[in-house]
């Protein structure tokens, strides 16, 4: 189980980073989304992997997993969601300003 999750995290990270290194904005957005999945899983995994032990203190749930990483991941999801939305808007703006979708050839100064 641990190996599988770790492999998945690695896969997500690698694919995400590869896309982030592309030239087109849209690929970068995709890459960052993949990366954020990877990150969320790492953060989540820091509480270890347990099936059938939700952190709900209700009847019928005998074991509880670590709730803290889950709370952290939630925060991280929200933040990365906001970021994605912002990035998309920014990419559109940049496109509107420069008339193309890509970072290359920009005149930064």
């Amino acid at each position: 189980m641990e190996l599988i999750v770790a492999a998945g995290i690695g896969l997500l990270t690698a694919c995400g980073l590869y896309l982030v290194l592309r030239a087109e904005t849209f690929s970068v957005v995709l890459g960052l989304t993949l990366l954020s999945y990877a990150v969320n899983l790492v953060l989540f995994a820091s509480g270890r992997l347990v099936a059938n032990a939700p952190p709900l203190l209700v009847e019928g749930v005998p074991r509880h997993t670590d709730p803290l990483p889950q709370a952290l991941v939630l925060t991280a999801i929200v933040i990365s969601f906001g970021m994605t939305a912002y990035l998309v808007a920014l990419a559109l703006r940049a496109k509107g300003e420069s008339g193309r979708d890509g970072f290359d050839g920009g005149d930064p100064t």
Partner: protein, 955 residues
């Protein structure tokens, strides 16, 4: 008493501040103010003079940054007195001179202000007891000299010359800073008294050599020593009063002052002798040689200044007590005759409108009085007897003969001295002969005549001084020289006698040989001129400096272009490589003997079924990930694959006991897809740019390495047991937080502050996106040509209508139950948003906006305010921010109702999420509406939904 030192400085600064003000009332007032400041400074120092002349050292000290060695400590001794007199006295003359020299249109406020600040800087240098303080003043002179040299800033060369001076002297100053820090470190103090007393200790220290070199670098640049001299001749672009002041009495003398000042601490070693005397000698000869070749008489004077500074440096380098005396003496003499020469030159320049000695000839006829003054001063420069220059040169010759360092080759130094003297005579002769005699002037812009009375006055004073010292040295400068040289030698003054006639001796012979040879040399100059002009291109001009500067910036620009092209991946690749490298280093530096990735923990007790499911999940994940990567150019497909990845991640959360995360992920996923699709509208369906294979491979390598690293680290972490604080949360969620969903209790209570930050982020993301999109016009790509007549498919439009109320009910349920069961404000907010967005998707933005006229920014503000106010409410109970309260309320008929303040907080979260999501999505959606509006309203009207006039209920 000692406070007078500071007051003198203050007087100058006050004058600097007042002069520009006074200039408003006319330049005479300004000059008077400046003169008053200088006189005031002199007067303030005067009471201290008698004591100092008798060998006393006055020290005044105030604490500033004692721990860092920087104190406001001042020192007034013989050397300071000498220089203070030069600075203030010549300064006074310069002020008078300048008021005639500068054009009447110049109100002189700026000039005098700068000049006085400069004078204050100079005075500070010579009055500093703390060497760091000395450095402060030192750099003030660099900066003000920059501004003074560029005073006539309309002139291109002047601007560059000023920067050149700044570059050289500023750079030297920094070297000196390093040297001073080392010196202070070695001596254990930054006070001159201590440093001068610890000379032996300093010279024995291993850091002595670098210290000396750095300090000398500072001194040499300031004093224009070869090969760092080139700034000085170029600085002649400055108005003549500036040249006269900076390059005779003050700035260039700062370097040699420093040699004199630190002589007791640093001199007395082979290194000192070798460095200082060789640089001085080289400068002496080089300056003299070049001076002769200059056609511009100011240039001639400038190089002669270089030469004389070389002489002074050489004298300090020879490092015998008598040579030091001679050096100090020559400082005085040079200041006096050079200042007068510059001023005379200024008059000539002023009267003739040119400085080219090939055109200015025979001026004696037109301005005999001025010419006489100039001839006398030049004579002093040449070392003609009965003038002051003769005396110090005589002392130099004497030292050259008696110097012990050359052992058997005793002839070396005298011969060198004679040659150098010959050269000085030659250029002095040229100045006198070319300017004042040598036929008639050629084609001058103006016809020269004598200057106004008071413009000559400063020159007269100085020339008188030249003669006075030359005729009666002991009477005129004896005590001052004793005091100054005594300070430079720390009181160990050798026996010497100042007199015009020392008898007929070898130095005198050398003087006459030099005089005669110099004149001969001058007469045969033509040949030299040709040689010089043919073979020695001017490497030291402003043009050259500017070219070097431009080359430097261009090179920097090329380097920066390599690393900073504005493309994110150019920044990202270093980040990733750096992270990988540092991570690997950190890993291996703890584990030098090899990898131990897997820990000993048993892992999750998962059944084979769960394992199999996980494996299936991994397969799906791989399909999704690779699909995204493979299809990232076909963007719609990439989005579809991305959704698969999101789904797998959600399922992972479901399987691994994280229902809240699963809910969040599922809902975020939907909104993310919609956002991406909205953006896709404005992008071509496929990316056109093809990337080179090499880059792709490189990126794959980086990404693969990073991915492998993260996987390895995650695996290492997952297989290790650890101790955590999280038991606390499980134990306290119900009793302390009033909720059974530990994750939600953490979010809204234990770590509610995080959540407050998080919704702030979300709010800002939405606002930022709003700001970005507003006013943006974009041309859509796909489908814009063939807009569907049926833009709002009926089945979708109709079926989402009952869905909205149902979905709202569900979201409300999720909001309320969140504290105890999976859910909460964020998920509920997303569900609400999605339900509303669905309306927009199905029926269009007009439909939605007409029915829900929400001011989303305000909704966001309200959400944030509610969340914040919930936190603040705890202040009323004397508890820290965000302290929660919860309890049961028993209502009739309904029964126990559990209430927690955290629920109110969650409501804030909910509102922010709804407001933010809607804001982003509607703004992005409205982008294509703008295009629609541009396309034409008629078609729009034809395809619109049957209009409904119901009033909007959510006002």
């Amino acid at each position: 008493m000692s406070v007078l030192i500071v007051l003198a400085l203050m007087a100058l600064l006050a004058g600097a501040a007042l002069a520009p003000v006074a200039a408003r009332f006319g330049r005479v007032r300004a000059s008077q103010t400046a003169a008053a400041a200088l006189i005031g400074a002199l007067a303030l120092l005067a009471p201290l003079a008698p004591g100092v002349l008798s060998g006393q050292v006055v020290v005044a000290s105030w604490s500033w940054l004692p721990e860092w060695g920087l104190d406001l400590a001042f020192r007034f001794d013989g050397l300071s007195l000498l220089f203070a007199l030069l600075i203030l006295g010549i300064g006074l003359l310069i002020v008078l001179y300048a008021s005639y020299y500068l054009p009447v249109a110049d109100r002189m406020g700026r000039f005098l202000g700068l000049l006085l600040v400069f004078a204050a800087g100079m005075l500070g240098i010579v009055l500093s007891e703390n060497i760091l303080l000395l450095l402060v003043f030192w750099e003030i002179t660099s900066v003000t000299s920059f501004l003074l040299i560029a005073y006539k800033y309309e002139a291109h060369d002047g601007r560059i010359a000023a920067r050149m001076a700044l570059a050289v002297t500023g750079g030297g100053g920094l070297a000196m800073l390093a040297g001073f820090l080392l010196l202070g470190h070695i001596a254990g103090s930054f006070e001159l008294s201590d440093i001068l007393a610890r000379g032996a200790q300093i010279r024995a220290h291993p850091l002595y050599a670098p210290t000396l070199v750095l300090i000398l670098l500072g001194a040499f640049t300031k004093s224009a020593q070869f090969p760092l001299h080139f700034w000085l001749p170029n600085a002649m672009a400055a108005p003549t009063p500036v040249s006269a002041y900076l390059h005779s009495a003050t700035m260039v003398k700062a370097g040699v002052f420093l040699l004199a000042r630190l002589h007791p601490a640093l001199a007395g070693t082979e290194l000192w002798f070798g460095l200082v005397s060789s640089v001085g000698a080289a400068t002496f000869v080089y300056g003299a040689y070049v001076a002769l070749l200059k056609h511009d008489f100011k240039g001639l004077l400038a190089y002669s200044t270089v030469s004389h500074l070389g002489l002074i440096t050489l004298l300090f380098g020879l490092d015998t007590p008598l040579s030091v005396v001679a050096g100090v003496f020559h400082i005085i003499n040079h200041a006096v005759f050079k200042a007068s020469l510059f001023m005379a030159a200024g008059i000539i320049d002023h009267e003739c409108g040119t400085r080219d000695m090939r055109r200015i000839n025979g001026l004696f006829k037109y301005m005999p009085y001025t010419a006489t003054l100039g001839i006398v001063a030049a004579g002093a420069m040449a070392g003609v007897p009965l003038l002051n220059g003769f005396l110090s040169k005589e002392m130099f010759f004497a030292e050259a003969i008696e110097h012990p360092h050359f052992g058997a080759h005793t002839w070396v130094l005298p011969v060198f001295a004679t040659i150098a003297g010959t050269l000085s005579v030659a250029y002095s002769t040229r100045f006198i002969h070319d300017v004042f005699f040598n036929g008639e002037p050629i084609n001058l812009p103006r016809s020269p005549h004598e200057p106004p009375r008071w413009m000559r006055f400063p020159v007269e004073i100085l020339v008188l001084l030249c003669i006075a010292v030359g005729v009666a040295p002991q009477l005129s400068v004896g005590p001052l020289l004793d005091a100054a040289a005594g300070a430079a030698l720390l009181g160990n003054l050798p026996a010497f006698k100042l007199s015009v006639w020392h008898g007929f001796n070898l130095p005198l012979v050398m003087s006459f040989v030099a005089l005669a040879a110099g004149i001969v040399y001058y007469l045969n100059r033509r040949f030299l001129f040709e040689l010089h002009e043919r073979y020695l291109p001017d490497l030291q001009s402003p043009v050259a400096f500017e070219r070097v500067y431009q080359a430097m910036t261009a090179a920097a620009a090329r380097v920066m272009a390599l690393v900073d092209s504005g493309a994110p991946r150019r920044y990202l690749a270093p980040l990733l490589v750096f992270a990988i490298a540092l991570g690997l280093w950190a890993y291996w530096s703890a584990h030098p003997d090899g990898l131990a990735l897997a820990g000993g923990a048993a892992g999750a007790p998962a059944g084979p079924l769960v394992q199999a499911l996980a494996l299936a999940g991994l397969a799906a994940l791989a399909a999704g990930c690779l699909g995204v990567v493979a299809c990232h150019r076909q963007r719609l497909l990439a989005i579809i694959f991305m959704s698969v990845v999101g789904l797998v991640v959600s399922m992972t959360f479901v399987l691994l006991s994280a229902p809240d995360l699963a809910l969040t992920q599922i809902s975020v996923e939907v909104v993310t897809i919609v956002v991406m699709l909205l953006a896709l509208r404005f992008l071509p369906a496929r990316a056109e740019t093809a990337e080179p294979r090499g880059r792709r491979l490189r990126d794959m390598a980086i990404a693969g390495l990073a991915g492998g690293g993260v996987a390895a680290l995650s695996y290492a972490m997952l297989t290790r047991p650890f101790e955590t604080i999280s038991n606390f949360y499980l134990a306290n969620a119900v009793p302390g937080g009033g909720g059974a969903n530990a994750v939600n209790v953490i979010l809204v209570d234990f770590r509610g502050f995080d959540t407050l930050g998080e919704i702030t982020v979300l709010a800002m993301a939405a606002l930022g996106a709003h700001a970005l999109v507003s006013g943006l016009r974009l041309a859509p790509y796909a489908g814009s040509a063939e807009r569907e007549a049926d833009r709002h498919p009926i089945m979708l439009a109709m079926l989402v209508r009952p869905l909205l109320p149902l979905a709202l009910a569900v979201s409300l349920y999720i909001l309320l139950r969140g504290h105890n069961l999976p859910g909460g404000g964020f998920i509920a907010g997303l569900v609400t948003s999605v339900a509303l967005i669905l309306q927009y998707i199905a029926c269009g933005i007009d439909f939605g906006r007409a029915r829900l006229p929400l001011d989303q920014p305000r909704l966001i503000a309200a959400g944030l305010a509610i969340a914040g106010a919930t936190g603040l409410a705890s202040w009323l109970f004397g508890a820290p921010f965000l302290t929660s309260a919860h309890g049961h309320v028993h209502l009739p008929l309904i029964g126990d109702v559990e209430l927690a303040s955290a629920m109110l907080f969650d409501l804030g979260v909910y509102l922010v999420v709804v407001g933010g999501t809607l804001l982003v999505l509607t703004e992005l959606g409205a982008l294509s509406r703008r295009e629609l509006a541009a396309e034409g309203a008629t078609r729009e009207a034809a395809t619109r939904e049957p209009a409904t006039q119901e009033p909007a209920p959510w006002n």
